[in-house]
């Protein structure tokens, strides 16, 4: 399969750089992500079995195509290609009906299958064009290698542009807005016992930081700290709580707060392995008693402040090293970091 793609893009024999490798991977991924219906030609030129070989000449020439499906009362009964036409011309048989020369054993692909299916079929059968049928075997389009190349290029351009624009806008936030103290605040309400959505907020925060131009390692550290803090609200709080992240050019402040039950012995809570997680939470793999320890490893400063009956506040702070400051992604801007 990767052979087919290499063939298609002519990369064989070239030294492949990291960037190329990334692109190849994306192309290969697209071969699985894109459906045949996303890239096929829908405007199909077809003929009927009773049409003559002359009609084939005219159709292929006018539309600059190398073959066409043959349809009888809405069903696909064959394909007629340049090779079939050559045979008719060699016999000097232009007025013969198409059914005399057409190929009846039609190989088709399904519109809902991934593009890689069509690539495999091209490689296996060596045909250049395939009729595309839907789940009811109705002809809905035609696909060639050219259609696939075009579809893949369009998709690459599209996701590249979308992510670039998002990253460009986000990464310029701190440069474009001039103030004595610029900060971006992200706030999430976390529900008690909501295991199903647990980790959602931290995943959003990690992505936001990456878009803001944060180095991946920094985004990962924040992701871990926020994940553990988020899960503690879900597992240990009475009524859930609030997660707040404040992104500034030189530091990131992360904070959770809830209104109970509070921690009787904060020092004990910070001991590795100490956990009061419920049996249900433990059965799901929570309650290792390592959450707060994990947070401490990831942040420069952590403060746990709790009063029984009133609630818990957890403050986490990461100072950005000079090489960690938010920068625009390469190529997005001429102006250096904030």
């Amino acid at each position: 399969m990767s052979d087919t793609i290499q063939e298609l893009y002519g990369r064989k024999g070239r030294n492949i750089t990291d960037r190329d490798a990334q692109e190849i991977t994306r192309v290969e991924e697209l071969a699985y992500d894109l459906k045949i219906s996303d890239v096929m030609t829908r405007d199909v030129k077809s003929l009927t079995p009773a049409d003559t070989m002359r009609a084939v000449v005219a159709l292929l020439r006018q539309n600059r195509i190398s073959g066409a499906p043959v349809m009888e009362e809405n069903s696909l009964v064959g394909v007629i290609s340049q090779e079939d036409l050559m045979r008719a011309l060699a016999d000097d048989d232009r007025d013969a009906p198409i059914h005399k020369y057409m190929t009846r054993n039609v190989i088709t692909v399904k519109s809902y299958e991934p593009v890689v299916k069509a690539l495999e079929t091209f490689a296996r059968t060596r045909v250049g064009r395939l009729p595309v049928v839907d789940e009811n075997e109705n002809l809905v389009g035609m696909i060639t290698k050219g259609d696939i190349t075009r579809g893949v290029l369009t998709a690459i351009r599209r996701d590249y542009q979308e992510e670039e624009i998002r990253r460009y806008r986000a990464s310029h936030l701190f440069e474009d807005i001039i103030s004595d103290r610029t900060s971006l605040i992200l706030r999430y309400k976390i529900k008690q016992g909501d295991f199903v959505n647990g980790g959602q907020a931290s995943s959003h925060i990690k992505r936001a930081l990456l878009r803001l131009g944060a180095p991946p390692q920094l985004a990962r550290q924040c992701g871990i700290a926020v994940y553990e803090a988020e899960m503690n609200l879900i597992i240990h709080s009475t009524n859930g709580g609030v997660l707040r992240v404040q992104v500034e050019p030189h530091r990131i402040l992360m904070q959770t707060s809830d209104d109970g039950p509070g921690i009787p012995d904060v020092k004990q809570a910070l001991t590795p392995g100490w956990s009061t997680a419920s049996p249900l939470a433990r059965s799901m793999g929570f309650g290792a008693g390592m959450g707060l320890v994990n947070i401490q490893r990831c942040v420069d400063k952590m403060e746990l402040d709790s009063t029984v009956g009133k609630g818990t506040k957890l403050l986490m702070e990461i100072h950005l090293r000079p090489d960690e400051k938010f920068k625009a992604p390469p190529g997005a801007s001429e102006t250096p970091s904030v």
Binding site: Y32, F195, G198, S203, R220, G223, I224, M284, G285, G287
Partner: protein, 112 residues
């Protein structure tokens, strides 16, 4: 050793949607059912071997950027878990074998 080789070699079932597993080369692995340990111990690109199969597995897998999760002893994630994994680009694989055996085989195959 690509993820495709591992899937074939261990006869794993692919629960999430098909991707080009030839393009993924897992770097080592981490085995635990305790999520905070995985958060602390798993490295990006690792395989994660666990018998947990609930929603938060996807969150942790995506947080740690593991190359795939191998769910052992036939633990079955619900359809909403698989859907979430597909959304987040997390690969879920499954086997009826226990974690101990899978880890041993992976080690033998040279995934270290």
């Amino acid at each position: 050793m690509t993820l495709q080789d591992i899937i074939a070699g261990l006869n794993l079932k692919v629960l999430t949607s098909l991707r080009n597993f030839n393009a993924v080369t897992p770097q080592g692995g981490y085995a635990s059912d305790l999520l905070s340990c995985v958060v602390a111990g798993a490295q990006p690109g690792n395989l994660w071997i666990t018998l947990q199969a609930h929603m938060n597995v996807v969150a942790v897998a995506s947080l740690r950027e593991v190359s795939a999760v191998i769910i052992t002893e036939n633990a079955q994630p619900g359809p909403e878990v698989v859907e979430k994994a597909n959304d987040q680009g997390v690969v879920l694989l499954s086997t009826e074998r226990p974690s101990y055996e899978i880890v041993g085989k992976l080690w033998e195959m040279g995934v270290r």
